[in-house]
């Protein structure tokens, strides 16, 4: 098992190298002038362009440039992001916790309701519970995220005014950056509770609800389907008949026996979805103007902020490998056949 984890971790640099080199190579399609122009905002200073190109070696061979970037990354320097107006590393540190927070809450809901609806659907196959779960699932599956996001915004923000879109309120920002607010984890939801500041907690939560619900729907639909088919398969197996013949209750038979087996594919799906959410909340963060890493990535891409784009993709690649590792570890926790062989 340890062996396996080490092997997975050895794979990490390979994946990261592959992804970043590909992206780096693509950015070279832009002329050195275009790449330099981001750092020179004032049209009157166009003369400085050549100096920037020389200073950063933008005309060098692509491998040389990539090597330089790698050497910097190895020292923890991801470069400066003009679009965020701060170093890339700092931007990730600032925005990633908000996205992790969003993704985590989303996946929590998805797994909880997905497993619940999916098993209910399988246990009551072809009854009304099943029909409802399947309808919800098909509906969620076919509803594009950006449409759903806008509808939710219209109803809950526009008409009812229950939740807030956009960045945190001015008061929240002032409290967070005011000095008295201590940062423990970087996750505002946790930190605000640790600081005993319910006002910040409420504000952060109200910004989380709509994006989280929007993100939930598609993943939830998939989760219901996977759980349903997995549960149906397990319920037909011989050991379920044994469990019934032993005189166990329906609850024990379904959740303890079949459920423990049926959950295995769900774990894989949930971890994949979680990682996908970390790198792919782009649309939702844009719609709700949520201060997360996805929005940072979008803005960096729109403004051809190369350091930002590279830093963002590096982060996604690392998360992807780590997430897969996590999924494998979880997998072995549930399935003894993998753990012990």
């Amino acid at each position: 098992m340890l062996n396996y984890i080490v092997r997975r971790l050895l794979l990490l640099p390979l994946v990261v190298l592959g992804v970043t080199f590909l992206l780096f190579f693509l950015t070279q399609r832009l002329s050195p002038e275009m790449r330099a122009s981001l750092y020179v905002k004032d049209p009157r200073q166009m003369g400085a362009l050549e100096e920037v190109i020389r200073q950063y070696g933008l005309r060098d061979n692509v491998f040389k440039q990539y090597g330089r970037w790698l050497a910097n990354v190895a020292q923890g320097d991801l470069g400066y992001s003009p679009s965020a107006n701060m170093p890339v590393a700092q931007a990730i540190k600032e925005y990633l916790p908000a996205t992790i927070q969003l993704a985590f809450i989303t996946i929590l809901f998805v797994v909880f309701f997905g497993v619940w609806f999916g098993s209910a659907s399988a246990v009551h196959k072809d009854k009304w519970q099943d029909v409802v779960a399947r309808l919800v699932s098909v509906g969620g599956f076919s509803l594009p995220i950006f449409v759903l996001g806008l509808i939710l915004l219209m109803i809950f923000y526009g008409k009812l005014g229950w939740f807030a879109p956009g960045g945190y309120s001015v008061q929240t920002d002032m409290i967070i950056h005011g000095g008295a607010f201590k940062t423990y984890t970087g996750f505002l939801l946790v930190d605000s509770l640790l600081n005993g500041n319910l006002r910040v907690f409420g504000d952060v939560l109200s910004h989380l609800v709509l994006p989280a619900v929007t993100l939930c729907i598609g993943s939830f639909a998939l989760m219901v389907r996977v759980m349903r088919s997995s549960m149906l398969e397990e319920l037909n197996k011989d050991y379920v008949r044994t469990a019934r013949a032993k005189g166990l209750t329906q609850w024990q038979v379904v959740y303890k026996h079949a459920g423990k087996n049926a959950i295995i594919p769900v774990i894989t799906l949930a971890s994949i979805q979680f990682i996908r959410l970390l790198g792919g909340t782009v649309i939702v963060e844009t719609i709700f103007d949520y201060p997360g890493i996805g929005r940072f990535g979008v803005i960096a891409a729109q403004q051809l902020d190369i350091a930002g784009i590279l830093g963002f993709s590096l982060m996604v690649a690392v998360l992807f490998v780590l997430g897969n590792l996590l999924s494998d570890i979880l997998y072995t926790a549930v399935d003894p056949r993998i753990r012990l062989e």
Binding site: D238, R241, T242, A245, T249, Q250, K256, P336, R337, L340
Partner: protein, 326 residues
């Protein structure tokens, strides 16, 4: 054979249908028997004869597409079909327990042997988890598994097929049930292991004095364990007799055919005799005796109407040939 004691399990005129695209297919047509206390009944039949379906129906474990369409199954005079889920649960595993054909698939792959054994105990008895564990270890030792305490921590995939079946037996006997229903318990095992398992079941059955229904397609298995044998063909009882008499003197042509097609142990034979033809497909309604198309003695009468079970000297035979004797 007549038995004065009240039967512990009684099946009366049991009919079971399968729902299929073609409509309702009868797989069991009026099976009846009474199982006295401490006795072993072997139900013998080919695949598709309805023997497994009958076994599952006792504890209401039939798949959703199978229905009991008539008759009743009584445990100590209680009609099992009329019990509530809760009442039935107390009987399942506690009073009537089952072992199945494929032991490796019948155990949950992600729960330890210990978990699966103790949960059976805890489902029926008030005891602490510690107590249940000790009891589970004792049970494993009883079925011949060495190092029981350590093996409780292991998972089914770490056990061989024979070992899994021993675990299933330990689980089935955990609560000293009155009736054990064994559905082809040795079919999936190696021949040498088969004999060990059979001996184990027979020994435990004799020790505890419980009754057992042994479902098998193997006449040798029936001969090894049973007091009474019931031969099932196309969902009907063809012949029922005390084991010794049935093997010495089979009355039904089908039973005769089955016994003839066994390989004799001490003789060399060129070619084993077989029963020509195939058993009828469920749902293809036919008048007359279901065995008539394959029966060497079939007459016009056999093809016209199905014989009832004729009783003589405590034996039952569904054959017109026995009419005169009855």
């Amino acid at each position: 054979m007549t038995c004065s004691s009240e039967p512990i399990l009684e099946v009366r005129n049991l009919h079971i249908d399968f729902t299929a695209e073609e409509g309702r297919l009868p797989v069991l047509c009026g099976l009846s028997y009474a199982l006295p206390k401490g006795r072993v009944l072997a139900v013998v039949g080919e695949s598709g004869s309805g023997k497994t379906v009958h076994a599952l129906s006792v504890l209401r474990l039939l798949p959703p597409n199978a229905h009991v369409s008539g008759g009743e199954i009584c445990y100590k005079g209680q009609n099992l079909a009329l019990l509530s889920e809760g009442e039935l649960r107390r009987i399942r595993g506690g009073k009537i327990s089952m072992i199945f054909q494929d032991p490796a698939a019948s155990l949950n792959p992600v729960l330890t042997i210990g978990q699966q054994l103790t949960e059976t105990l805890l489902a029926h008895r008030k005891m602490s988890k510690e107590e249940a564990r000790r009891q589970a270890a004792r049970l494993l030792e009883k079925v011949g598994i060495a190092g029981a305490a350590k093996r409780l921590e292991e998972y089914p995939f770490q056990f061989s097929g024979g070992m899994c079946q021993r675990v299933m037996i330990a689980m089935a006997l955990a609560l000293s049930p009155d009736v054990l229903i064994a559905d082809e318990p040795t079919t999936a095992l190696d021949v040498t292991v088969q004999a060990q398992i059979l001996r184990l079941i027979k020994q435990l059955q004799t020790e505890s004095g419980m009754s057992a229904v042994f479902i098998t397609h193997n006449l040798a298995v029936a001969a090894a364990v049973a007091d009474e044998v019931l031969v099932l063909y196309a969902g009907r009882c063809m012949e029922q007799a005390p084991a010794e008499q049935l093997f010495k003197n089979p009355l039904h042509p089908y039973t005769q055919g089955l016994l003839n097609s066994l390989a004799p142990l001490h003789q060399k034979v060129e070619k084993l005799p077989v029963i020509a033809g195939h058993p009828p497909v469920p749902g293809q309604a036919q008048a007359g005796c279901p065995f008539a198309p394959r029966c060497p003695f079939a007459s016009e009468k056999c093809r016209q109407s199905c014989p009832p079970l004729f009783e003589e000297n405590g034996r039952k035979t569904r054959c017109w040939l026995r009419e005169v004797h009855a």
